[in-house]
């Protein structure tokens, strides 16, 4: 369970803005200060750029964990055992899981101007990077599969499906 920062509260149009403060919290003392600072506070576009950089960070996160995973793969060895198989399955499944939840995951970084935060086109660049990074993870997983001999790449893997007919001439013995 990863805790994520709820950047949405920063936005001026947030629906949480109109909620009354919890009991015991005085609004007046701070409100003046807040109001004085609102003029110096960055404009919503600045939030957007921060969110964009955060989105980039998120997009490149799979790539950053790669060295660690590669090390784990190296340590797990080449045999087909339960440990190495677990890691390989994780590597193979997580990119697809990530990509399936990509639009939801990036919705929190959507700029305030976005019409539909969950549309694929919002934060397109970051999402493409995210896809690329996940593809990298998948690639590492596949490379591991191949090194374990689990990928049907050679003709030997398809030999069992080859069929032959009867010879046209019959020689009797």
């Amino acid at each position: 369970m990863s805790k994520s920062l709820e950047y949405a509260t920063l936005e001026p149009a947030s629906k949480w803005r109109n909620l009354s403060p919890p009991p015991g919290f005085s609004k007046s003392s701070s409100s003046t200060r807040v109001s004085s600072k609102t003029s110096t506070a960055p404009p919503p576009e600045a939030y957007n750029s921060i969110k964009e950089t955060r989105a980039f960070d998120f997009a490149t996160a799979p790539a950053k964990s790669l060295p660690m995973q590669a090390f784990m793969l190296y340590m797990s060895g080449g045999g087909v055992q339960i440990f190495s198989m677990g890691i390989v399955f994780m590597l193979l499944l997580s990119p697809f899981k990530n990509l399936a939840g990509m639009n939801d995951a990036f919705a929190q970084f959507a700029p305030s101007t976005a019409k539909n935060p969950k549309a694929f086109t919002t934060l397109l660049l970051q999402k493409l990077v995210y896809i690329a990074c996940n593809a990298l993870t998948l690639g590492v997983g596949l490379w591991k599969c191949r090194s374990m001999g689990l990928l049907p790449l050679g003709t030997g893997d398809w030999l069992a499906f080859e069929t032959r007919g009867l010879a046209p001439e019959i020689s009797l013995f």
Partner: protein
């Protein structure tokens, strides 16, 4: 060092590598045989510790000298002579058995008669003329012996001398030792003379030689005491002459009775012999002092043509003489005469249709030992059979495995037309076995003991009915022998299920002849039954020189003939004459039960001769190619044949020559090795890097072995793999001529799928570091390099690509010479094949496929992928002679001529049957029994674990539920 260590480690990896001692006698059986007797057994008895041990000493056609226990017929000892060392004669005296053998009968061996221990071996001088006869007499008290060989007499003992006859044109055939002198006696029809020689037995000095005129029709004589007796056929009189050192005694004759023959009954010392009269009467005769023949006893005239005489001494040294004859009513009668006692008359209820006619007779007290024309040895006491041996099993010509049908109960259920009531009744009937089954299951489960009879057939279980067991280990071996008999053997126990004797058809009654089995096939049974039939094709060689081809079709379960149908199996097995003349070759059309028989005019005779089989041949005629060996004036050649129909010549299809295999000058075809046909599980071999070497699976390949006719050039022996449709050579190799003993091509080969293995003797290493010794060569044929494929298995023989073959080959030093080689065969061909060889040291070995992989690496270590995927191991020159690879345990499996294998119903297992002098059957699992649970598998532990886990779940589940509920409250 590393390599051999590596190989040794690899060999250690499979757990059940060798045969377990607990499996011996359970999965295998062994029949120790001696071969068909050549002469009447000689009874020898020795009193040791007040117990009398009786043995029957007998020489056999399998070149064996054997001693059988007279009480139960078991083999006490046997000495197997080498093939080039044929037994010429053997003689028994006291505790010594002396055998003369070899070319010129010069090899003399003396054995202890009760143990078979060799006391001495000696090479004697060879006669300069052609060997005519050998004889041995023993000097009383000294243990010395005199050996007569044609014209030489040798004394073997402390004093040794050799006497050579002055006239070598007069060979001697018998030696007589009296107190006065040693006499050599011979009769020559060419010179019409009886020639005699008297020699001083101590010094070997010649005392005298003489020759006496005889009518030229006299060809044989007997010696009784110091008298030589013969019959003159022209005058039907008896002539005899007394032996004296001066050799001056004159010939006397006895003309009062009409004599037919004189018979030696091995009672020379008792001066007894048998004279047969033309009337059929027989007289026991004794030579009395003064040269008078006295009749001791008269056997009355018998009503049959054949009479056999045998004599012997009882333990007190009293002689007795037995006469056996077969009356016209096929009854066998015996009379035993002992001087001074009543004649014992008895009859033997011997079934001549099961065992043939009596060939030899020996007498052991009141017990008769007979050998029959089909090679059986039987001991009879009065009219009771005490024991019997089927020695013709040592001469098996063809043999085949036959799978048993399903049990009657399962096989005959007609599911479609069965009414509900009938089904209920059947199911209730089936269910009555359930309690027993459940009890057996529970017992099997708890104790881990192997199931009793249904699943694993024990070799000792002879009571089980003839029905298929769960794993198909129980089959019937049908074997046809050179002595015209057919046997059904149980593969589980080796017991003889039934015996039949081939009938002679038209040649039976008056002409006589022999039946020589040539081919054996298993075909689907006729009619509704599920079973299979066995078809034996044989040559019937009548005594009037006519040869016919006869076909016998029998039911393998009972031995009863199917066509012509017979009610019971009491008579002779009569077949159907299929070709009036010899058979050239016979083939079975694949995937059908049609056999085509080619006669001497190359006409195709289908069997069964029905419209359906004619139509099948007509349909396939253009596709069929028949390569076989044909005899030409310069020796046999391999010729390929096609089929055509020419109505002008014959209304049958004719085989016409399409190709001939051209061999280098001087090479001559020795034999054809047929490919081992079986399902092909994989089309290629997958290498470590996932690429594939596609197997060259040309189904028309066969192997031709050649020998060298020109001894001077010594070109060597050829091994050729030939395409049967067009005769092109796909692989060839030349190996040196073996010079062990005499030069000959001693190459053995087997071909399965794309895999050829051959074995030969490397005479001279041609390169440095090569040595003499046996080699085994493995060759695999591929369509090309990795990933190159030509689809050879369904390609036409005339396609351009059909000659694209790449052979991978490697040779290894093998520790033994072999006499037979084959591969294992399994039901689906998935299990890797082992090579099974019969070695010259009387063992059966299995060589694993992995050791014979021609890709074994010579110059580098295998990569991890190659080790993992291909199980590749480094090359090692020596094929390790691992005693754990001996599948014949400690049995002596002698002179194996052929090994046949058959799949069981279990894919992992193959039945192996080796026959030669001995019979041996076992089961092998080349890749271990991967399809049945190991015997040591702990079922109880498994069940207890599962039960424990289930119990844990039952206990933990409510606890977890309660905890969850509590957690919800405090969330």
């Amino acid at each position: 060092m590393f390599r051999s260590l590596f190989v040794a480690l690899l060999l250690c990896t499979p757990l059940s590598l060798a045969i377990h001692e607990s499996d011996v006698g359970v999965i295998d059986w062994h029949k120790k045989l001696i071969g068909v007797p050549l002469a009447p057994p000689i009874v020898h008895y020795a009193v040791t510790n007040k117990t009398t041990q009786r043995v029957l000493l007998v020489p056999t056609s399998s070149n064996v000298l054997a001693a059988l226990n007279a009480t139960d017929g078991s083999v006490v000892w046997r000495y197997v002579f080498d093939n080039s060392d044929g037994i010429a004669s053997f003689h028994v005296n006291g505790d010594a058995v002396v055998a003369l053998s070899g070319p010129g009968a010069t090899m003399m061996r003396s054995f202890e008669s009760l143990t078979g221990f060799l006391s001495f071996e000696k090479r004697l001088e060879a006669p300069t003329t052609e060997l005519s006869a050998v004889d041995v007499v023993f000097e009383p008290n000294t243990g010395a012996m005199f050996v007569l060989n044609t014209h030489l007499i040798t004394r073997v003992g402390e004093v040794q001398w050799t006497w050579d006859a002055p006239d070598k044109q007069m060979p001697y055939s018998k030696l007589v030792h009296t107190g006065a002198a040693l006499y050599a006696v011979g009769v020559s029809q060419a010179t019409a003379s009886l020639h005699l020689a008297a020699v001083n037995p101590i010094t070997g000095a010649q005392i005298n030689t003489a020759w006496k005129h005889l009518p030229p029709s006299v060809s044989s004589f007997v010696v009784s005491g110091d008298t030589v007796i013969w019959v003159v056929p022209a005058t039907e009189s008896l002539g005899f002459v007394l032996l004296s050192p001066s050799l001056r005694e004159s010939i006397r004759t006895e003309k009062t009775l009409k004599w037919l023959a004189v018979v030696d009954v091995d009672l020379r010392d008792k001066e007894l012999f048998v004279g047969v009269l033309t009337s059929g009467e027989a007289r026991v005769l004794k030579v009395q002092e003064g040269g008078v023949l006295e009749s001791m006893h008269a056997f009355p005239a018998n009503d049959g043509p054949q009479a056999l005489f045998a004599g012997g001494l009882d333990e007190e040294g009293a002689p007795y003489i037995a006469r056996l004859w077969t009356s016209t009513a096929q009854a066998i009668s015996v009379e035993i005469y002992t001087p001074g006692k009543d004649v014992v008359k008895t009859s033997l209820p011997l079934n001549t249709h099961k065992h043939g006619t009596v060939a030899h007779l020996a007498i052991d007290g009141l017990r008769l030992v007979i050998t029959t024309s089909t090679g059986a040895i039987q001991a009879w006491e009065k009219d009771q059979l005490v024991w019997g041996r089927e020695e013709s099993l040592a001469t098996i010509d063809v043999a085949t495995f036959v799978e048993l049908p399903l049990p009657e109960r399962i096989a005959h259920v007609n599911l479609e037309d069965e009414s509900i009531l009938a089904r209920l009744a059947r199911q209730i009937e089936d269910a009555q076995d359930f309690p027993a089954y459940a009890a057996a299951f529970a017992e099997r489960f708890v104790t881990g003991a192997p199931p009793r009879e249904e699943v694993v057939v024990s070799a000792h279980d002879r009571s089980a009915a003839l029905a298929r067991d769960a794993f198909g280990f129980k089959q019937v071996l049908v074997t046809a022998t050179a002595y015209g008999s057919l046997f059904g053997l149980d593969t589980a126990s080796g017991a003889v299920l039934w015996t039949r004797v081939f009938g002679l058809g038209w040649a039976g009654d008056s002409v006589g002849g022999v039946v020589k089995p040539l081919k054996i096939y298993v075909v689907e049974g006729e009619g509704e039954s599920e079973g299979k039939d066995v078809v034996v094709i044989a040559h019937r060689k009548a005594n009037n020189k006519l040869v016919d081809t006869v076909l016998f079709r029998v039911d393998p379960l009972t031995g009863a003939s199917v066509t012509p149908f017979e009610e019971n199996t009491n008579g002779l097995l009569e077949g159907t004459d299929v070709i009036q003349g010899p058979l050239t070759e016979a083939f079975r059309i694949p995937d059908s039960d049609v056999i085509i028989l080619i006669d001497e005019f190359f006409q195709i005779n289908p069997y069964p001769d029905t419209e359906a089989s004619v139509a099948l041949i007509a349909r396939l005629a253009s596709k069929l190619y028949l390569p076989f060996m044909e005899n030409f004036s310069d020796g046999p050649r391999i010729v390929g044949h096609g089929l055509k129909l020419d109505k002008n010549v014959s209304d049958k299809y004719l085989a016409y020559r399409t190709w001939g295999l051209s061999l280098p000058a001087g090479a001559r075809v020795k034999s054809i090795v047929k490919p081992r046909v079986g399902p092909v599980a994989s089309l290629g071999k997958v290498l470590g890097n996932r690429t594939t070497l596609y197997k060259y699976l040309n189904p028309r390949m066969f192997v031709v072995l050649t020998e060298d006719t020109e001894e001077s050039t010594s070109r060597g022996c050829g091994v050729y793999v030939v395409d049967g449709a067009k005769g092109s050579v796909l692989y060839s190799a030349t190996v040196p001529v073996s010079v062990q003993g005499r030069p000959e091509c001693d190459v053995h080969a087997t071909l399965a799928e794309n895999w050829l293995v051959y074995h030969y003797y490397e005479t001279e290493g041609e390169r440095d570091g090569e040595t003499k010794g046996w080699r085994i060569v493995t060759v695999e044929l591929y369509e090309g390099g990795p990933d190159e494929k030509t689809q050879s298995s369904d390609m036409s023989a005339f396609s351009v690509d059909s000659m694209q073959v790449e052979a991978l080959e490697q040779s290894y030093v093998y520790a033994h010479g072999i006499t037979a080689i084959t591969t294992t065969s399994t039901k689906f061909g998935i299990t890797s094949k082992d090579i099974i060889v019969a070695t010259q040291n009387n063992k059966i070995h299995a060589i694993p496929r992995r050791m014979l992989n021609p890709r074994r690496l010579k110059d580098r270590k295998p990569t991890p992928e190659e080790q993992q995927e291909e199980l590749l191991i480094p090359y090692d020159v020596i094929m390790p002679d691992d005693p754990r690879r001996t599948i014949s345990h400690t049995y002596e499996v002698t002179n194996t001529r052929q090994i046949i294998t058959s799949p069981a119903l279990l894919e992992s297992t193959s039945l192996v049957f080796a026959y030669g002098l001995d019979l041996f059957l076992t089961r092998v699992a080349p890749s271990n029994t991967f399809d049945i649970l190991n015997k040591s598998f702990n079922k109880v532990q498994l069940v207890l674990t599962v039960c424990g886990l289930a119990l844990g779940i039952v206990i933990a589940k409510p606890m977890v539920r309660r905890k969850r509920l509590r957690e919800r409250w405090y969330q």
